[in-house]
Symmetry: D2
Subunit: 356 residues, 4 copies
């Protein structure tokens, strides 16, 4: 992820017309040696094994955090204290409580924050939100979404930070993406009930080990959601979905139309709008009419890839840092996502609906 960030920062100036040109000033890692090698490989000017030094560096305006999840809070708090713009990977923190603390600190300090929910950067997702907001598909009645992948579909996929009871599990890891998208498109979630399932009760303790240890997190979660606007629906988070690699998909239904999307075909948005005898989903293809597609290619048909979403994110980060409006998601929004996830986890333990 560090490399992905560095590549995006390097690429962005060649594609976007930015108010400021980013420089890869200084890279921090756990040891001097790791930091030196990282800086070399990724093209940073300097390096340090002390992340506080990075934050204190007067040349640094934006602190980008791709450290392990446990470090998101302390690094963010320090960066906020230093008045820096903070760009943090999701999840914002390992608990909603800590995420709220970070959010309140950032808001009190007035610093700019952004969290890496990069799937929201897709021009097709923005088009979806514009269509919804404009009322084109009427009042939203239903949302049905899913984030399904197969990276843990083998019972022999080992334990890792992903299966750590503190902040691990499919719902936290990828369910956060479909939750953030549900909020982005259908608005605040008010009530949830979830069923968290551990498909494989044990996994190897580490890569290459035959010794197995119990799994304490979910491999698959299905949840029912109710939204503030009266809509209802369901989501699934599943990292053992054998047939899927990035099925971050949804259908959102309104009283006059509907939209459907899958990350598997990320350059397409399907819009249904009824015309007698012509009813049907229209497959809208990403193109220059859908900003910021045009930054990548002035002609339609030249599809964006996954890495381009990170470049868009970084472009918006830099613009926000330079003073334009922050499109988010900021720490507040990331906290709301995390709070929704924790409510689902709580409902799965209690077997009852949880209000947000």
């Amino acid at each position: 992820m560090g490399r992905c960030h560095a590549n995006a920062f390097r690429a962005v100036a060649g594609l976007f017309d930015l108010p400021l040109e980013p420089k890869l000033t200084i890279l921090a890692d756990a040891t001097d040696d790791l930091a030196r090698r990282g800086a070399d490989a990724l093209g940073f000017a300097r390096f340090t094994a002390d992340w506080q030094a990075l934050i204190d560096d007067p040349e640094v305006g934006i602190v980008a955090i791709t450290a392990p999840n446990l470090l998101h809070a302390p690094i963010s708090m320090a960066a906020i204290a230093a008045g820096k713009t903070v760009y943090c990977e999701k999840p914002l923190s390992t608990t909603a409580a800590s995420a709220l603390e970070m959010t309140e600190a950032a808001e009190a300090a007035g610093v700019i924050t952004m969290v890496g929910f990069n799937f929201l950067r897709n021009p097709m997702i923005r088009l979806a939100r514009e269509i919804i907001t404009s009322g084109e598909i009427g009042d939203i009645t239903g949302f049905r979404g899913r984030h399904a992948e197969n990276y843990m579909a083998s019972p022999d996929a080992p334990h890792s930070f992903r299966t750590d009871p503190a902040g691990g599990g499919a719902l936290t890891d990828i369910g956060s993406h479909i939750t953030s998208m549900a909020r982005y498109l259908a608005g605040p979630i008010t009530e949830v009930i979830a069923d968290c399932q551990t498909i494989f009760p044990t996994r190897p303790v580490a890569p290459g080990h035959t010794r197995r240890a119990p799994v304490q997190v979910d491999d698959m979660t299905h949840a029912l959601l109710r939204f503030e606007n009266g809509a209802a629906g369901s989501i699934e988070a599943n990292w053992a979905a054998t047939a899927r690699t990035l099925d971050l998909s949804w259908e959102i239904t309104g009283t006059r139309g509907a939209l459907a999307f899958s990350q598997e075909r990320m350059n397409e948005l399907h819009l249904w709008s009824g015309t007698r005898g012509r009813n049907g989903y229209t497959r809208i293809e990403a193109g220059p009419d859908h900003p910021p597609y045009g930054a990548f290619c002035p002609a339609p048909g030249h599809h964006l890839g996954f890495n381009d979403l990170k470049v868009i994110e970084v472009a918006e980060l830099i613009a926000a840092h330079a003073g334009t409006e922050n499109p988010g998601p900021d720490f507040r929004e990331a906290y709301e996502v995390q709070r929704s996830i924790e409510a689902m986890q709580r409902s799965a333990r209690s077997g009852a609906w949880v209000k947000l």
Copy 2:
């Protein structure tokens, strides 16, 4: 639906090699006049306004019931008492209790019963079950299904038997299809929790009326399911799904593969089975390798239509009547579906999981 049955009975002998040839002997309807006109239009030899007379008719071997739901029970009970084969449209009855009574009567009498869950007759659905049963996709871990249509998507679609609190609502009307399919493919359901939503609080009292009355049934239900085999999943029943006409669709995931299907493309079954570098869903197209497709056409590529599913159902009914094994779904299975639906409705009222 009466016409659909009659057409299927008439068509079946030209397509299937049957042990018995069906005759449209006698049609019963509410009045002599309706019955006469029905018999004329549909090609029945005789007619009656007294359904008991139809049942008592010695020439009648199979009693096909397409009467209003409230009449399913009394007509079935009479037909069972008379030792006739009973072919009943879904839902079997208006309550699970009544459906159980019918089931026990039929089993005690040893009569053959069949219920019109015609979507199960699709050769692609059978292929799916064979693939699952064979172990080809491993142990089943997840089921995600949906039956979404838009026939009640307008707030001005009026009240009718569909919105009658006794036996109405989207979950009962079409949720039964996806529930029967879930059971057919993933096995018995052991626990459910549902969220039943009424999208339009009032509807016109009848077609063409401006006066509106409250709606007491669900327009849309999302439910979480747990299965006896350990799998978990979700279903949706939605008759206000603006963009959908017959999205009876599902994905079923196993530890070694997966299957996906939508009635919108009913001649295709998608099978995922992993081969390094060649991973992906294979779109299997219905053909002579998938019985009973060959009854309709000896060559592949000549797709079946919706009405053909009813013809298959009738062919299997006749074969069962003539003594071959009954592939079902029989009354017992229809009762189990209904019981699952009622459990979902109960869970929606209580906000808690319901065990079956």
Copy 3:
């Protein structure tokens, strides 16, 4: 094909509101025995081994011809002479010259004729023609079509009437379907050049034989077409298309929009019409807005199958016989298709464009 006709005649009255109800009066076949068995199996009242007797039968109003291609001409000529309505399977005859003779005889006698290009009966194909005729997609500029199947894709698929130099080959057998569709949608063809290829130089002389004989017909033909309206395009006819079972597909481009279709998804028509930011193909699904879909089901989503196309054809035949306008294709149109095919064959031999 005889059975397919009989089934369609039997089914049609239950589905369509017809001015006349068809009766399966008399069946003719090569021998008394074959005819008797056919009549029994298909439900004809009588049978004969003398097709002239069938034609002379005063109860017979419509003569349906599914005999071998060589007999199409003599039976048709006799039926025309007797003033009967003639319903003939494609190809109309084994040569365009003979087809023209039949056409002129029918026109002189004023009898009603219809030829079994059943793919044209699809409600989606009619919708396509209506959209084109209305000018909705502007002036037609291009047509790109194909009929690809795999029934002869094995080098061991044996010789049969299909490989008979008189009237055989992929272009004649299935190329006629895409040619008739090209004419139906884009209008008369004025100039052609084709490349006819024999992929397998020999085939077994008959099923189960190891002895092989040379193949003198095409397995695959690609052709360039020019249309009277100025459009240009290409078609392919291929019975050795390994991956295809009924890829009768096309895209037709106009100056303001386009349409695309494949028989593999015969209930869908794709319409492109440009709206800034919403450009894309709309997948129109067959439904009651697209006659005569409603004859099969009053609700959308209940797809038609291949056999239903034959039922539509027969409904239109009966209506034409009873005096309504004949929608065709009649003998004249079938002759034009055949003439286009022969021109392609001639161009393949000469290596030069052929004008029609």
Copy 4:
């Protein structure tokens, strides 16, 4: 295109593990001012208005040519003379004769050459070639391809270098892509006949002008092809394909299987391989099993975009420059493509097949 190259050169080191790291040494443009601004915007160290100076620069190892087509030959010849690696955008030159001269010069000098047919860099296209080469789909019998876009679909799209009779037209501009792909997958083309059509006889003389001048190039070409391996097929090049933005698509049929692809879904390759009862196209999704996908992301599901293809091209160029095998396409291959295009144009004028 210059910007696209620069971005690719800048991005490549962050993604690929390269033997050499590229530097953007010097940019040449028509005037000092243009060159200065280009160098600034794209991050080149120096600039010049004299391309010969760039070639002579001892720090320059690779000369990348994105100049107007007329300049490809002189710049290439000079770079070859200087012993530099030459990386030229397609078309290699404005005539096949000139392209051959350039090819022979490069081969005589032993310099490394590469031409920007970037669609060939797609991991899915390489997978296709590997599958074909391995014999997995048997002997190739047919190729059916297309490159259709709509950037000239309006009659008011003005004249430009694209419509210049020297080197313009749809066949040259985009037909070269589908021709290069046909050669890459199905091998050398031996015989062609084409139909070149000008859909809009006049176009505005320049953007914003109302005065119109005749168009002397094709808007749409359909062609029949024969291949050295005995296969046959067709291609279309169409820049007035109203409904298409980048339909660079094809199906290639072998005696045991088939492959299908469209650039509209560039991360998917469809492979048909027959297994009784399981026949169908498998949608293979790009992933780490398909090099060099892994350079962009170690996990599957993270799709590549159009710009990533250019990065792959540049990575291969640098590797070839550093001494690994040149995967091409080199000048020789680009010449062969151009020769095929010219043969099609000649055949369109003569109305006769042209041998290559």
